[in-house]
Symmetry: C2
DNA sequence: GTAACACCTCTAGTAACTAGAGGTTCAAGG
DNA sequence: CCTTGAACCTCTAGTTACTAGAGGTGTTAC
């Protein structure tokens, strides 16, 4: 049995975050000591690792929750797991594309500044006026 | 003079967002009609466009605010503008790198699922166990 | 004059935590 | 057995950048 601090160390999750997951229903309410402190077993440890890994892969908690509910599922229900992963991948690729556009604009903007600031700053000008940009761009998340 | 709705249309900013910027001090408090409705001039329009463009380039409002305060500045103060743009660029590149790693993992994970779900789902397994991953990965923002 | 629409303020909700206050329990050393 | 300090407890509020809604008022076109 692990204390919350031990679970924290083993998963790299901050203690308040563990309690937060419990409040959200992602982690089941653990046993308590007589003094009301939480005690976790290996099932909880595994579940927390699953949550963290999902988060590290960029999934929102709602998707992590959906995946958790699929544990032990069979047959066509499992397509939902596949869908979640695939949707996340599509999302990710779109974001990468957007960020690349942003990168191009910012590279151009920063390069426009030669360090001399005798008159109008090229950087400020570029920020103030989208028409100076190469094309459309939008910061997604 | 523009109403808030007109300003909204001209900048693609939602009306509540304009009021939100005003509350935050990014937009100055505009004149009001006798009936207490906001009326904006071209200076406000320009300023709002600046804010939106900064946001579209991925800057947090705090950076946008810093840039706004540099308008009309001279000499070395303007290096701050350059710094902000450059910091954003570094940030952006780091994020792109991270997202690429994620993409690689997710591509592998989704490919592992052949559509048959006779026993353990490969996707769920991959999510539950980071050691099945190619390398470290973390979803940044 | 009246209907429809735009506007007003204020509160609360979103995601995923994080920080802090103020108080209790646990484990180790004396 | 007692004390001390770390770890734990609950609860509230803050973070970012908005967005949604309630309940009420102003403006405008016919």
């Amino acid at each position: 049995m692990y204390s919350i601090g031990e679970l924290s160390r083993r998963t790299g999750t901050k203690v308040p975050t563990i309690r937060f997951y419990e409040d959200k229903g992602l982690l089941p309410k653990p046993q308590r000591t007589e003094g009301n402190q939480r005690r976790y077993d290996d099932v909880a440890l595994k579940r927390l690792r699953f949550i963290r890994h999902g988060r590290d892969l960029g999934l929102p908690l709602s998707d992590v929750e959906a995946l958790l509910s699929l544990e032990g599922a069979q047959g066509p229900d499992l397509n939902r797991a596949h869908d979640i992963a695939e949707r996340q991948l599509v999302d990710l690729r779109e974001r990468i594309t957007q960020l690349r556009k942003l990168e191009a604009e910012l590279t151009r903007i920063t390069a426009a500044c030669d360090g001399k600031h005798d008159h109008v700053c090229a950087v400020l000008h570029a920020f103030s006026d989208h028409s100076a940009c190469l094309g459309p761009h939008n910061a997604i998340k």
